[in-house]
């Protein structure tokens, strides 16, 4: 039952830590507006970075928002790394290779899970396994190449080197080890996707016959440790990005009644800053401090 506990436990720990970090970010107070153009949900204006504030007496006019444009924007950003393409072309091939590797490995795992679920019902699909098999090796190779490229780039580039810490390299090496052991497992197995699918099925059904041999055991072990480690690092920028984009850059909602309630609550909080233009003998809250003016 070791593998069952290890696999399920790792996934549960991953979900719990990730959820904790998401809740921590989401529960931070409402901030002052800090949007940044271009904002893709501006249906007629996002092409050039325009906003609803370009409309005369905008508060009297209906707003035209486009969810499709947001989804399209994010899809290009996530899958093709739009910002790096636009602003850091030299890094783009390496970063894209690296990220494509990760995406493909995740996709191969998802296909293996789907096959495992199907096979629990008694069916099987060689085609699905073959597709997952090809995707997996492509992912391992691209991911591995991306890791090597990024490490070399960080070591050789004068701009990147001073900002690359032990943690940066550790994370890259860790992921590199995951890709490398994945590649080794793929080479040894007849069809790695089939083996993975079987392990997933045995885990889901708590089948004691589960038996994972080297190097797949090393690959799965490393991957699970990485899964636990991941939400403790800044590599969860895939989550943070939701907030930096949707809750800050693109948060252009004018104040409404619900927001007013939140702001009034925040303005009741005490102000503890010590500078002479703020500090008073009697501790004031934000509302009082903002409406008055203490002489310096």
């Amino acid at each position: 039952m070791f593998w069952h506990g290890f696999i399920i436990g790792s996934i549960v720990v991953f979900i719990l830590i990730l959820a904790y970090r998401i809740i921590r970010i989401a529960s931070l107070p409402v901030h002052l507006r800090w949007e940044l153009a271009p904002i893709p949900h501006e249906r007629d204006r996002s092409k050039y970075g325009g906003s609803y504030l370009e409309v005369y007496e905008w508060w009297q006019k209906p707003r035209k928002k486009s969810l499709t444009a947001v989804i399209k924007y994010m899809a290009v950003e996530i899958l093709l790394l739009r910002a790096i393409w636009k602003y850091n072309r030299a890094l783009w091939p390496l970063s894209l290779t690296f990220h494509a590797g990760i995406y493909l490995v995740i996709l191969a795992i998802l296909l293996s899970i789907i096959h495992a679920l199907v096979s629990i019902g008694g069916a099987t699909s060689e085609l699905l396994l073959d597709i997952a098999w090809i995707i997996a090796i492509t992912g391992y190779v691209l991911g591995g190449l991306g890791v090597v490229g990024l490490i070399l780039k960080r070591i050789s580039n004068e701009g990147l080197r001073p900002f690359s810490s032990f943690t940066t390299y550790f994370n890259l090496f860790f992921l590199g080890a995951v890709f490398l052991t994945g590649y080794m497992s793929w080479m040894k197995a007849e069809n790695l996707a089939a083996d993975m699918s079987l392990i997933i099925k045995q885990t889901l059904t708590l089948d004691n016959a589960i038996n994972i041999s080297y190097p797949l055991s090393l690959h799965i072990g490393l991957s699970l440790v990485f899964l636990i480690y991941l939400p403790m690092t800044n590599m969860i920028h895939f989550i943070a990005k939701y907030f930096t984009y949707h809750e800050i850059r693109w948060d252009d909602e004018p104040q409404d009644a619900k927001m007013t309630v939140k702001i009034l609550g925040l303005m009741k909080q005490p102000v503890g800053w010590a500078s002479s233009h703020i500090k008073t003998e009697e501790k004031k809250n934000w509302a009082d401090t903002s409406s008055g003016h203490e002489k310096t």
Binding site: L32, S165, H277
Partner: protein
């Protein structure tokens, strides 16, 4: 150029980290391409080096920075810095920007994609000190070390240890004023990390906890505005007198009755100019008076303290001052019972009042606020005023104030006006939301302590000056008069300093002005040219 390590920030507290050399900056187009022909940097005197804290780049933006006489005094400031650092991470003391700050601190991937988006870094010839990430990463590591549990141990284990000493805090202070807060770096970041925000939070820590802020922004900025009425020092009586004088002068010059309206109860529009325009660019407020009266708008200015100056320097360095100024403006509008407030040609007023303060102004203080760009566009295309675009038949280019364009997404209204009224309008490259800052953003345009102006015109304003020259590359000589339209007082002040420094009027025939002046210049009813070229 000396390569810098992050740990250098704490070393040799009395020695500058880098020395600026004009030959290492990016070259400008002819006739400004020979460094030897241009005025260089004013070097600090020996007396200034002894008296002032000057340990960053040989430039001093704030002569008032204390110079401790002993270790105990230094320790006191370091303790204050640490206290402020913790307050920045606190939900009560920093609810205003806590979420954006934490996300920007915790999720930088160190890809350095933002660097080449920064006009200061590029103009400096890629000096490490001016990377948007240099100050941010140092601050990030200090926060990780001193603001988080187990931080000191983690800093040692991961090799991210930055010493916190007198050199570190004074250099961070100065370095926080080597950024225009233009947010071009934030736009480039794939993660959505905002180095400009981190810089502003750093400024905020110094202001709100240690009381360190440039005198032009604080003491002679927001404090003066709230006490006297304006950072210009104009009190209400003097402001009215000045504009009455200008009304008379321009009535005479234009042949039409120019009459500024003051304190009209129940007006449709409260127009809040930057009072600096009254002093430095008087054609601007007068243009609005002419246009509003010609279009029959029911408008007014306010003579309440603070009501005739829309600037809000709090946006650059201090949340409390930001809120105080914004609330003061809103209270004045409420008292007058106006239907809406229209921003003057001032970029940071737009951002501070229309969006940032939107979550400070509650209840009846939340009066509709509109950009001058849409206001003028509506006025120009209303059909109430007759225009003759041939009166503006000279090369015109548009500068996009970052706070109006990149930060608010107001891009096209001003362009529609210029395309209609200026036959020789041409864009800069890049423009719109991708524009470069004028180099005076983030409050820098009004800062002129010690030798700071030299840095502004040589480094932070360099990319913009290059862009301007390139926009007029087909007519480079002084024989053709050229107009840079900069609808923002702070940008105009920065352009004025740049053009004076390089002699751009004399050598290239370039002047700078606002948008409203171009509109008035094209009015059929204005018989003599409204725009004055070179004091003619």
């Amino acid at each position: 150029m000396k390569k810098l390590k992050l740990t250098d920030i704490a070393a040799n507290e009395n020695t500058p980290l880098t020395e600026l050399n004009i030959d290492e900056l990016i070259p400008l187009p002819p006739p400004y391409d020979r460094a030897g022909d241009l005025p260089g940097f004013r070097q600090l005197t020996e007396d200034q080096r002894q008296r002032l804290v000057c340990n960053l780049d040989g430039v001093v933006s704030y002569a008032g920075l204390p110079k401790p006489e002993n270790e105990a005094e230094k320790k006191k400031y370091i303790e204050q810095f640490l206290g402020g650092l913790k307050k920045l991470l606190d939900k009560e003391n920093n609810w205003t920007f806590l979420q954006p700050l934490i996300l920007s601190l915790d999720y930088c991937a160190q890809c350095q994609t933002c660097n080449d988006a920064c006009p200061v870094y590029l103009a400096s010839g890629r000096n490490d000190l001016y990377r948007p990430t240099y100050r941010s990463e140092i601050f990030r590591r200090l926060i990780d070390k001193y603001g988080k549990t187990g931080g000191k141990l983690r800093a040692r284990l991961t090799g991210k240890d930055i010493r916190l000493n007198w050199a570190t805090i004074t250099r961070l202070y100065e370095l926080s004023y080597r950024c225009n807060l233009c947010r071009r770096c934030a736009q480039a970041c794939p993660m959505g990390v905002d180095n400009a925000l981190i810089t502003r939070e750093l400024r905020k820590l110094f202001s709100q906890e240690l009381g360190w802020a440039p005198k032009e922004l604080h003491e002679k900025g927001t404090v003066l505005q709230l006490e006297v009425g304006s950072p210009t020092g104009l009190n209400p009586r003097v402001a009215i007198d000045n504009l009455e004088f200008l009304d008379e002068e321009f009535s005479e010059a234009t042949g039409i009755d120019v009459k500024t309206v003051w304190d009209k109860q129940g007006a449709d529009v409260l127009l809040i100019h930057s009072a600096g325009d009254i002093i430095s660019f008087p054609e601007s407020p007068i243009s609005f008076t002419i246009l509003c009266n010609a279009a029959g708008i029911n408008w007014t200015l306010s003579s309440e303290i603070g009501g005739y100056d829309g600037v809000n320097y709090g946006l650059f360095y201090d949340d409390v001052q930001l809120a105080r100024v914004a609330i003061r403006h809103a209270e004045i509008a409420r008292k007058l019972g106006v239907k809406k407030i229209v921003m003057g040609e001032c970029g940071h007023q737009h951002k501070a009042f229309i969006t940032v303060a939107d979550r400070v102004l509650t209840g009846d203080l939340n009066i509709p606020r509109e950009s001058v760009m849409t206001f003028l566009e509506n006025l120009v295309f209303s059909g109430k005023i007759e225009f003759d675009p041939s009166k503006n038949d000279f090369p015109v280019t548009l500068h996009d104030p970052c706070n109006v364009v990149r930060n608010l997404g107001i891009v096209e209204p001003q362009r529609r006006i210029l395309r209609y009224l200026c036959p020789q309008f041409r864009e800069m490259t890049p423009s719109g939301v991708d524009n470069y800052c004028c180099g005076g953003g983030g409050g820098l345009s009004v800062m002129s302590d010690v030798n700071f102006t030299d840095w502004k015109v040589n480094v932070s304003g360099r990319m913009k000056f290059k862009q301007v020259l390139e926009a007029f590359a087909d007519v480079p000589g002084p024989e053709v008069n050229k107009y840079v339209c900069a609808p923002c007082l702070n940008c105009k002040l920065q352009f004025r300093d740049i053009f004076e420094h390089y002699g751009a009027k004399e050598r290239s025939g370039i002047i700078c002005g606002g948008l409203a002046e171009l509109i008035v210049n094209a009015m059929v009813d204005i018989k003599t040219p409204f725009i004055k070229w070179f004091d003619d």
